[in-house]
Amino acid sequence: MKKGIEVSIAASEAAKLARVEAIAAYPITPQTHIVEHLSDIVANGELDAVYVTVESEHSAMSACIGTSAAGARTFTSTSAQGLELMHEILFIASALRLPIVMAVANRALSAPLSIWNDHSDVMAARDCGWIQLFCENGQEVVDTIIMAFRIAEDHRVLLPVMVNLDGFQLSHVVEPIDFPDQKDVDKFLPDYKPLYTLHPDRPLTMGAYATPELYTEAKFAQEQAIINSLPVIKEILSEYSKKFKRKYNILETYNFEKSDTVFIAMGSVNENIMTAIDTLKKDKKSCGLVKVRLFRPFPDAELAALLEKKKNVIVIDRAMPAGGMNGPVYNEVAALLRRYNIKANLFNYIVGLGGRDVLPEDFISVYDEVVKAKKGKSKEKTNYKVIGVRA
C-alpha cells in the first residue's frame, strides 16, 4: 500500500528496512531531514543501531570507515560542502573496499553559497571509486537504498555506494511511496557478512602504504573491481525488480524506439523531460529520453547500444565544466560515441544550477533548437549552452 511521505523520511525508513547497524553523520541542508529521522528512530529503539554524532563530515566518513571495518552495516548521508569536506576520505573508503552506503541530497557548491539543487557536488566527487546511482523520484530512493546495500556488500563487489537524490526537488517533496515488507527485505538483503574485519581474533593490517612498485597494481585491482561490479549491479537490480514488482535497470528509456532525437539526463529532471516529451508528442514531434541511473561504473556498452542509430543526442548536465570543454556527463557520452564509432550529433545543455527552475518548456525549446541545428540553420559557437542564463 502506498503511503504519502516526505522523501527524506522515506530514505531513512529505507535505511531502517535495510537494518543499518551504524550511522555517522553531520547535519547539512538539504540532507537534515534524513539524519533527523534516523536519529529519531534510533532514539525510539525502532532501529537497533549506533548513531555517532560526529563533529564534521570529514569525521563522518572517517567514523563510517571505522564502523564498517569493524563489520557493521554502515549508512551516512550528506550534501554539497559536506561531500567536499569528506572528499579525501571518500577515496580511502573505496580503496579499503568498505561497503558503506551514503545518500547524497545533491546541492550546489559554494560560492556563492546556495543550498539549492544541482549536481556540482557529486560531479566533483565522481572519480572517488564509489558506485554512483541516481534517483528520479521517492520510490526510486527507497528501492535504491535497499539495493545499494546488496550491491555494496556482495563479495564480488565490496565497494561503497552513493545514492544521489536531488536536494529539495526530491528530498523535500511528499510522494506516495510503496514500502516493501520487512520480511521480504530481510530475504533480499541478509545480514552483512564481511570478508575481513578489525578484530583481535584475526589480526590484520588495513591501510598500508604502497611504494611505486605496488601502487599501480593496487589501483589497477581496484579499477577491475568497479568495472566488474557492473554485471553484479545489473543482476541485483533485476532480482529486486522481480521480487518487488518494480522495474529497475541501470539505464531506462522513455518514448525511445521511434525517436531520432533523444535526451540523456540523471535525477529528478527526468520527470520534466518526460512531460516535455508528452507535450511534443501532441505536436507530432517525437523525442526520447535515456535516464542514466548508474553513473559509476559508467555503462558504456549498454548506452552505446541504445544510441547507435540516433541522430541527435542531447546531454543534460547539472554542473559547470569549470574550464573544461563540456559538462561531465557530456564528456562520458562523447567518449562513448567515439569508442563505439556512433555518428550522432551531440549537444550539451547545462540546466538548473543552484536550484534554478527548469521547466518542461525549456526542454521543448531545446528540442526545437536541436532539430533546427541539425538542418544547419543555427550554428552555435560554444560547445554547450546554459539554459536561461542572463549573460
Binding site: E21, A22, A24, D48, A49, V50, V52, T53, V54, E55, S56, H58, S59, S62, A63, C64, I65, G66, T67, S68, A69, A70, G71, A72, T74, E88, I89, I92, L96, D191, L198, H199, P200, D201, R202, P203, L204, T205, M206, G207, A208, Y209, A210, T211, L214, A218
Partner: protein, 309 residues
C-alpha cells in the same frame, strides 16, 4: 625510582611484542620504543587506529606490517574519528551478539602534528562524545616524517625546516601548545604525560588509561634524534633531561585530580637539556633565560594544581 629494578624488570613487563622487528624507524627512535611499551600493556585484545606519520610510514609498506594487533590507517587528521567508528561498530555488533562478548580496547595514535594541529578537531569530537578509547599523542615536537617542519607542539626556540633560525629569527617563535590541558578540558577520566625514558611510569599510566571508564589521553614525549639533531644513543638521556629540567613534567589528571608521578626536584637548569641539541644550538643566554623562566612557571603551575606546595 624503584631500587634494583633491572633485576626484576623483565618479569613485570609482558614479554609478548606487538610492534615487531623489521620496521624502518630511525636508530634511537624513542617514539617506537614508547609504543612498544604501551602496546604490551594494552595487550592482545586491542585495535589500533593510526594517523599518517612516522609510526605509520616505518611500519606498513605493502605487503608487510610490523603490527601484530589489528591495525588501521586511514588518513592524517582522523585517527580519533576512525577510532570512534571502530568503538561504536564493535559496541553494536557485541550487543547484537554478532561478535564474541569480550572487551576490546581501541587505541588511536597520532604524532604531534596529527594531534595538536590537523587532528585536533577530530580528537576533540571523539573525547567529547566519550567513546571508550585511548588516544596517544606521540610527540616528537615537529613534522618529522616529512622532514622536520614546525608544528604547534614544537618548543619555543627550536630550529626546524619551516621555523629555521636566521639572522632575524630565533626559530620557533611560539610556545608549545598545551595538549594536556586541552584534553583535560574535555573532563575525561584520565589524562597523563609520559616518556619512554621512564618506562615504568609510562606502563603504569597506560594501565590507568586502559582501565578508565571513558576516553583517556596519553601524551608521550618521544625523543627524535634525527629531528632534534642529537646522537641516536642519546635519546633516553634527553628524555630524562626533559623531565629533570621540568621541561616535560610527568603527571596525570585522574578524574580531574592532578598528581605529579615523578618529582625531579631540585630541577636541573634547562640549559642542560637545550645544550647538545642541534635544534637549539643557536640560542643565546638571553633566550635560555626566557625558557628557564617559563619552564619554572609551568612547573610551579603543575605543582599547584597537584597541591604540592
Amino acid at each position: 625510582m624503584l631500587p634494583n629494578i633491572e633485576i626484576y624488570a623483565p618479569n613485570v613487563v609482558p614479554k609478548e611484542e606487538f610492534v615487531v622487528s623489521g620496521h624502518r624507524a630511525c636508530q634511537g627512535c624513542a617514539e617506537v620504543l614508547a609504543l612498544r611499551h604501551a602496546l604490551k600493556i594494552f595487550g592482545k585484545d586491542t585495535i589500533i587506529a593510526m594517523a599518517t606519520g612516522c609510526m605509520e610510514i616505518i611500519s606498513t609498506p605493502l605487503p608487510t606490517t610490523a603490527w601484530t594487533q589489528p591495525w588501521i590507517h586511514v588518513a592524517f587528521e582522523n585517527a580519533a574519528a576512525v577510532a570512534s567508528g571502530i568503538e561504536a561498530g564493535l559496541r553494536i555488533l557485541r550487543k547484537k551478539g554478532k561478535i564474541p562478548d569480550k572487551d576490546i580496547h581501541i587505541v588511536a595514535i597520532g604524532g604531534d602534528g596529527g594531534t595538536a594541529d590537523i587532528g585536533l578537531q577530530a580528537l576533540s569530537g571523539a573525547l567529547e562524545r566519550y567513546h571508550k578509547f585511548t588516544y596517544i599523542c606521540v610527540d616528537n615536537e615537529a613534522y618529522m616524517n616529512t622532514g622536520i617542519q614546525r608544528s604547534s607542539s614544537t618548543p619555543y626556540g627550536a630550529s626546524t625546516t619551516t621555523s629555521p633560525a636566521g639572522k632575524v629569527s630565533i626559530g620557533q617563535q611560539t610556545w608549545k601548545k598545551d595538549m594536556v590541558k586541552i584534553a583535560a578540558a574535555h573532563n575525561i577520566p584520565y589524562v597523563a604525560t609520559a616518556c619512554p625514558s621512564y618506562p615504568f611510569d609510562l606502563i603504569e599510566k597506560v594501565k590507568q588509561a586502559k582501565m578508565a571508564n571513558g576516553p583517556s589521553y596519553l601524551h608521550f614525549l618521544s625523543v627524535c634524534p634525527t629531528g632534534w639533531r642529537i646522537p641516536s644513543e642519546a635519546a633516553i638521556k634527553y628524555g630524562r633531561l626533559a623531565v629533570e629540567t621540568g621541561i616535560f613534567p610527568l603527571y596525570e589528571i585522574k578524574d580531574g585530580k592532578y598528581r605529579i608521578t615523578y618529582n625531579p626536584e631540585p630541577l636541573r637548569p634547562v640549559k642542560d637539556y637545550l645544550k647538545g641539541q642541534g635544534r637549539f644550538r643557536h640560542l643565546t643566554d638571553e633566550h635560555i633565560e626566557y625558557i628557564q623562566k617559563r619552564t619554572n612557571e609551568h612547573w610551579e603551575e603543575i605543582k599547584k594544581l597537584a597541591s604540592l606546595k
